[in-house]
């Protein structure tokens, strides 16, 4: 049955999502995942999270899913080795070369190819499988038909994000944020946090979500207040189909949201999945929709506030 994977932005969130029914939790190694440092964890917190997950018979997955600099690869392998020595076997990566290096160094580790890999067709999935991935995350707009093909033909685990955002551009193929502001900041361990680059440092200023004016060649306005669509979604209708096609992981993103909200999302999906699996024929979606609407409302409020903060932060002077 599909594993329910949820976000662990803090130790508190790790405990909360596992206590509320997640089968697995993912955390970001500080400086190495697609979120900024405040939603990532130091090594000791990761090891403590792993112990907590293990005590419940559950899984902790460590995200190293940014695209690093070549000279940072030794740092990555050293950190991964520290976690491996402590019994952690599950990792999330984006860089194909880093995947190959990790799977050669530690045969048997589970490597999930991150959403940042932008896997949009079966051949993409096979490429990452050959690079060492044991499971791939489907690009957020992939249709059910392509997922079914992938599940049948690729012979690699399939992970689907049920709470995430579909960026205006294809996620993982966008540098609009770092074009407006990027700051290199190197931490004590020597890792560059690439502030402003979602691909490299995890922090995205979401500039697509500001209001743009579109002008033509002559400078005349063609449209005002254009917002490049970047939508947060909360998938419910497709859950039965995902379970029927035997997807391996159903993932809830949300490290930057509040612990009560993420806990509520986890409870919602846990109960929804369990209800469907218990009696697929009698299952009706309608009764879940009202509860979903409440969660979406709370989520959107938190997201709006965060987006406004990020855009205003992006306007602060960037270092020359």
């Amino acid at each position: 049955m599909a594993e329910l994977l949820a976000s662990g932005g803090t130790l508190e969130m790790v405990r909360a999502v596992l206590d509320n029914g997640a089968d697995a939790v993912y955390v970001g190694a500080r400086g190495w995942s697609r979120r900024r440092a405040q939603y990532e964890m130091g090594d000791d917190e990761i090891l403590e999270s792993a112990r907590y997950a293990r005590s419940l018979g559950k899984v902790l997955r460590v995200a190293f899913n940014t695209l690093p600099a070549s000279q940072e690869i030794p740092l990555f392998l050293a950190k991964a080795e520290k976690f491996f020595s402590a019994g952690i076997r599950d990792f999330i990566l984006t860089d194909a070369g880093a995947m190959a290096a990790l799977s050669h160094r530690f045969p048997g580790v589970q490597i999930h190819a991150s959403v940042g890999c932008t896997i949009i067709n079966v051949e993409d999935a096979l490429f990452y499988k050959e690079a060492g991935a044991t499971q791939i995350v489907a690009e957020c707009r992939m249709g059910l038909e392509e997922m079914r093909r992938l599940k049948e033909e690729a012979g690699v685990g399939l992970e689907v994000l049920v709470h995430a955002t579909t960026c205006y551009t294809l996620l993982g193929r966008c540098t609009m944020s770092s074009y407006t502001r990027q700051e290199w900041r190197i931490d004590d361990e020597g890792k560059n946090h690439f502030l402003g680059s979602p691909n490299r440092g995890g922090l995205c200023y979401r500039v697509c979500l500001t209001e743009w004016d579109q002008v033509g060649e002559d400078g005349e306005p063609e449209a005002r207040g254009v917002i490049l669509p970047n939508t947060a979604y909360f998938l419910v209708d497709d859950i039965p189909a995902l379970i029927d096609m035997d997807v391996d992981t159903i993932k809830i993103q949300g490290r930057e949201y509040s612990v009560p909200l993420v806990s509520e999302m986890v409870r919602f999906y846990r109960e929804l999945i369990d209800a469907y699996v218990k009696d697929r024929r009698a299952f009706r979606l309608e009764r879940w929709k009202e509860r979903m609407a409440g969660i979406i409302c709370a989520r959107d409020a938190e997201r709006r506030e965060k987006t406004a903060g990020l855009i205003s932060e992006s306007l602060t002077a960037s270092p020359l």
Partner: protein, 308 residues
């Protein structure tokens, strides 16, 4: 040293002086519906490759940056056609297309494009096993990092020296209100210029792609590139005018010749005039020096435009 032009269609080819260039990359990776897209039309590709060969140019053909599963059979047909034409390489942005080349045992070498997300030498090594001989690192990769990719990755590194930086790609056109099959604005909408402006920022939109508003310009810094060992240079000319491709190409041909000659290098006033004349929103150096992408580092061509 190799200077590469990019040309999407017969419309862009017409009037473009390719004299300064050594090679031409044909087609648009952004959208299959670009009118006359060389990467989508076997007959047009044949004509262009024949003509360019007579001119002594190397030819490359690009492939879609974001092909869905349903698009792959069409991509495969184009790869077959490119093989038949004997092009010198295929530009690849999507890992699935790269794998397809290997599975087909295609004799064509692959050049990894701007959207292939090459950030590390290790990834370049993986791609080399699939047939890549050249990579264009992601725009965010700095010059120092690119030197490592070239040295340790065992592949040639292509650098962008001038033009709009590809910042993003998607599969839904933002210039249309209806679907691309039904909207009468397709495929004409992206033939016109459209800019997105807000606060301090300007971007150029081509519907399924977002480009930098400012023009990446490495004219002042060419000796740095040459002495670091880079020798493959691209000018991004898609969605620009023929005059842009022609004039900028001439500037960089002269500049590269000077940089390679060992004589003292300086930006000639005529070059500066040309790059400024063709840049609507000013110049930038992208991410090469580890800065914000829209900033210009240097003194000779410093722009004073507040909107960047």
């Amino acid at each position: 040293m190799e200077l590469i032009a990019t040309v999407a269609s017969p419309r862009e080819l017409a009037g473009t002086d390719l004299g300064p260039y050594d090679s031409v990359c044909l087609g648009s990776p952004y959208c299959r519906r670009v009118e006359g897209n060389f990467a989508e039309d076997v007959a047009l590709l044949h004509e262009a490759v024949s003509a360019l060969r007579k001119m002594g140019k190397k030819t490359y053909v690009t492939t879609p940056a974001a092909p869905r599963g349903r698009d792959l059979p069409r991509v495969e047909l184009m790869i077959d056609a490119a093989e038949m034409e004997g092009v010198d390489a295929i530009e690849v942005h999507n890992m699935g297309v790269l794998r397809m080349l290997r599975e087909k045992r295609s004799p064509l070498p692959a050049h990894m494009g701007a959207f292939a997300n090459v950030y590390t030498h290790l990834t370049a090594q993986v791609m080399k096993e699939y047939g890549a001989v050249r990579v264009r690192p992601n725009a965010e990769v700095s010059l120092k990092e690119m030197e490592i990719v070239a040295r340790e990755g065992g592949v040639e590194v292509e650098t962008l020296v001038h033009g709009k930086i590809p910042l993003g790609v998607t599969d839904k056109c933002s210039l249309l209100t209806e679907s691309e099959e039904t909207d009468p604005k397709c495929p004409s909408a992206c033939r016109e210029e459209h800019w997105l402006t807000t606060r301090q920022w300007v971007l150029k939109t081509i519907g399924k792609g977002v480009l930098s508003g400012r023009d990446m310009c490495m004219l002042e810094h060419l000796p740095v590139l040459v002495s670091a060992g880079f020798f493959v240079f691209k000018i991004e000319g898609l969605y620009e005018t023929a005059a842009y491709r022609s004039d900028i190409g001439r500037v960089y041909r002269e500049a590269l010749d000077l940089a390679a000659s060992g004589a003292e290098y300086m930006v000639r006033p005529a070059w500066a005039d040309a790059v400024k004349r063709h840049s609507r929103e000013g110049l930038c150096n992208g991410y090469y020096f580890g800065k914000t992408g829209r900033l210009y580092v240097g003194t000779v061509l410093q722009e004073a435009k507040p909107k960047v």
